[in-house]
């Protein structure tokens, strides 16, 4: 695995490390696939939400960690996907479910394109952050006044889909079936993002993040690539929202405000925004803290806050950054 945090510190993982990490990943995927048989439905729901939050956080980190842009209103894209899919299932839009997901992603990309054209081509820096916050707040207001979207109460009782495959159908109405669909969909999206980041396109994003002026000097159309990054990010966030609607079976205004936008930032910072897997690790850490402190109301917020302070002070590169440093020390200690 050529992880950004390791490549920056100048030490790529050895071949053995790569094999070990690949084996760990494979075992994890198998365990996740059989999770419905291994854990209770409550924990399964939480695992499903962690997968969705991981995709959401990865979408944010594509912007921040890889293109050097900050979106402070990413929940808006998530909400676009969640409400579109929720409404599509609730009102029986004549769209196959997979097409519904794709349309949700395209909607996210389109909105990102419009914002990107305004904020990234003509303006820079803080304007993108402000515009994304504005988008989220405006969306919240629009939904709050739209009876078909449940106004303040939210869109509840969203049915889970049945995918028609021609000669047969894939019934996702049961939690276990939808969970497996969700897992595969999230793995595909994560795989897609991995490919983007490790492709020529991803290297272009990183070049822009490192130094936009130099990137421009060597012929990169910075504004264009920033818009492309923003569109991929918006589409991915909308896909995360789209996948969440049938899982939670309710979409509410809780998911369309600035507080909801801080969740992917929190997960990315916790796990480490300099690494591809950092947002995923952050989502797992955040969920674990929440789960283990569920009997102590308010404690999870204090713990997450405390962990964040420690991470920012001690290891700004997050949990993976700490692990990377530990590994380096151990390796050097072993060599000495």
């Amino acid at each position: 695995m050529t992880d950004a945090s390791w490549t920056r510190s100048g030490e790529a993982p050895s071949l053995t490390d790569q094999y070990l990490l690949s084996a760990f990943g494979a075992v994890l995927v198998v365990l996740l696939f059989f999770a419905p048989e291994l854990v209770n439905p409550g924990l399964l729901f939480i695992i499903g939400m962690t997968l969705i939050q991981s995709v959401f956080a990865l979408s944010w980190n594509l912007l921040f960690g890889y293109t050097g842009l900050a979106s402070f209103g990413h929940a808006g894209f998530y909400a676009i996907g969640a409400y579109f899919t929720g409404a599509s299932l609730r009102y029986g839009f004549p769209l196959p479910f997979v097409v519904t997901l794709l349309v949700a992603g395209i909607l996210g990309a389109l909105v990102a394109y419009v914002i990107g054209i305004v904020a990234l081509k003509r303006l820079t820096g803080i304007f993108l952050a402000v515009l994304t916050v504005a988008l989220t707040e405006a969306l919240g207001k629009i939904i709050g006044f739209t009876p078909a979207l449940g106004e303040q109460d939210g869109l509840g009782n969203i049915p889970r889909p049945v995918i028609n495959l021609g000669i047969t159908s894939l019934d996702l109405t049961h939690s276990n079936a939808y969970y497996r669909f969700l897992l595969i969909a999230c793995l595909l999206v994560i795989g897609g993002l991995w490919w983007v980041i490790h492709s020529r396109l991803g290297r272009t994003f990183r070049a822009i993040r490192e130094d936009a002026d130099r990137a421009r000097f060597i012929g990169i159309d910075v504004a264009r690539y920033r818009v492309i990054s923003f569109m991929i990010s918006g589409a991915t966030a909308a896909l995360a929202g789209a996948l969440s609607a049938p899982w939670t079976r309710i979409v509410t205004l809780d998911q369309v405000n600035w507080l909801a936008s801080t969740q992917p930032m929190l997960n990315s910072l916790l796990g480490g925004f300099t690494s591809f897997w950092g947002p995923v690790v952050g989502s797992v850490v955040f969920t674990s803290i929440n789960y283990w402190t569920r009997n102590y109301p308010g404690l999870s917020e204090m713990l997450v806050g405390g962990v964040l302070v420690v991470i920012i002070l001690v290891a700004p590169t997050g949990v993976l950054g700490i692990l990377g440093k530990l590994r380096t020390r151990l390796t050097r200690g072993g060599r000495a």
Partner: protein, 418 residues
């Protein structure tokens, strides 16, 4: 199949069935676990924690009297964080742990996540505090029971109560947040004022809308001051309501209006305003132990005693009664069913009448909506600690003010006979 394989299979099957039987027997003889999911942190905590206290007292009272079905009640408590997704996670976790009796939904946002899940989890779910209409309309299913009046009943009854206690007030106006709850509560209130005014000669002016979280109400207060209204309904809740009263008091709004009804802040506004509480402020309430009909109700006296003993606080919030009532509804359902199985408890609760500190309660069979007495308190300033007092309670029989049962059908006020 080889003989050894067959014997192994039989032995494993026997072991498994014995193990399952032992687990089943343990589950039947140990404490009766009841899942509780309220907002115990976050912005919903001021409401959720009061519901929690009432529910804890109900469990303590039943356990003190020997328990339920010969078993002690054990509450398995979770925090839904005032978040619908969290309430879904909590309900699934509790159901996954084998708990089929749940109390939750201290607010509408969490109840909307919880309610549709109940059939899938094969659980009986008590929706304790959510007044949103969808719960007993488009989201209705037979596994849920709502132990609080819905918005239509609550605010129609409130309007009726105020016009009946103040028939001399002919012109009314509302200020409400510009959201569906604010619009609906003002609409239900105003419609009831017009309908129940003696001679039907009350006028309800157009509602003045504001932001639910606003802190500056000068424009709206000016509009109220220049209106001809003498009666006011304030649909703004929480800290915003306190800001409203603080600003309104300074410009003479207290002198202009003869009566003000507020959405349900109750003691929160009383504590914040103290000696500056509006002198004829009416509020949605659940309980006040010092006033009739609670004063002469032994269940109310016992609830007060248990509350003071467990907290040391002599001024219990009214919502404690709502939390206790919700739990008692479920406990009495189990007692009547003589079983904790989901179907038996549902059948028992559909035909249940149980006693509470606020009088007898039952459920409407068609949509599992609580039928109870709705109470409204009159509050004003006081010279003694806590510097506000509740002077009297008005009451309306909610069965007279309920919309016709329409489970599965979205509520629309236009469908009701006007």
């Amino acid at each position: 199949m080889k003989r050894r394989t067959l014997l192994k299979g039989l032995a494993a099957g026997a072991g498994l069935s014995l193990g399952m039987k032992a687990t089943y027997l343990r589950a039947q003889s140990g404490p009766l676990k009841i899942g509780v999911s309220y907002a115990l942190s976050g912005v919903g905590a001021p409401v959720g924690t009061q519901f929690m206290k009432g529910t804890e007292i109900a469990a303590m009272q039943v356990n003190r009297d020997g328990g339920l079905l010969g078993r002690q009640i054990e509450l398995v408590v979770r925090d839904d964080k005032y978040n619908s997704a969290e309430s879904v996670a909590v309900a699934r976790e509790l159901a996954g742990a084998g708990i089929n009796l749940l109390i939750g939904g201290s607010q509408t946002v969490t109840a909307l996540g919880l309610a549709p899940l109940a059939p899938e989890l094969n659980a009986v779910v008590i929706i304790a505090g959510a007044a949103g209409m969808p719960v007993t309309h488009e989201l209705f299913n037979r596994n849920i029971f709502r132990t609080v009046a819905n918005n239509y009943t609550q605010y129609s009854s409130f309007g009726r109560s105020l016009i009946e206690t103040h028939p001399e007030v002919k012109t009314w106006i509302s200020i409400a947040p510009d959201g569906d709850f604010g619009r609906d509560s003002a609409l239900f209130f105003g419609n009831a004022v017009k309908k129940y005014a003696p001679g039907k000669d009350a006028t309800v002016l157009d509602t003045i809308f504001t932001q639910g979280t606003a802190t500056d109400f000068r424009t709206q207060i000016n509009a109220l001051m220049s209106s001809k209204a003498e009666g006011l309904y304030v649909g703004i809740a929480g800290a915003a309501q306190i800001s409203f009263f603080q600003q309104a008091r300074g410009v003479g709004l207290y002198d202009k209006f003869k009566v003000i009804g507020e959405v349900g802040n109750g003691e929160v506004t009383g504590k914040a305003m103290g000696r500056n509480t509006y002198p004829n402020l009416w509020s949605i309430s659940y309980w006040n132990n010092d006033l009739e009909p609670f004063k002469s109700n032994p269940l109310s006296q016992q609830l007060y005693k248990d509350y003071v003993e467990s907290t040391g606080n002599k001024f219990p919030p009214a919502l404690v009664m709502a939390g206790q009532r919700s739990a008692m509804a479920l406990f009495e359902g189990v007692r009547k069913a003589k079983s904790s199985e989901t179907d038996a408890v549902i059948a028992a609760m559909e035909d249940l009448t149980f006693q509470t500190p606020g009088g007898p309660c039952s459920f409407r069979k068609e949509d599992h909506q609580l039928i109870a007495t709705s109470y409204y308190s009159q509050m004003g300033p006081s010279d003694k600690d806590p510097f506000y007092k509740i002077m009297q309670m008005a009451q309306i029989d909610s069965s007279q003010m309920m919309e016709p049962a329409a489970p599965g059908v979205k509520f629309d006020i236009k469908d009701l006979p006007q």
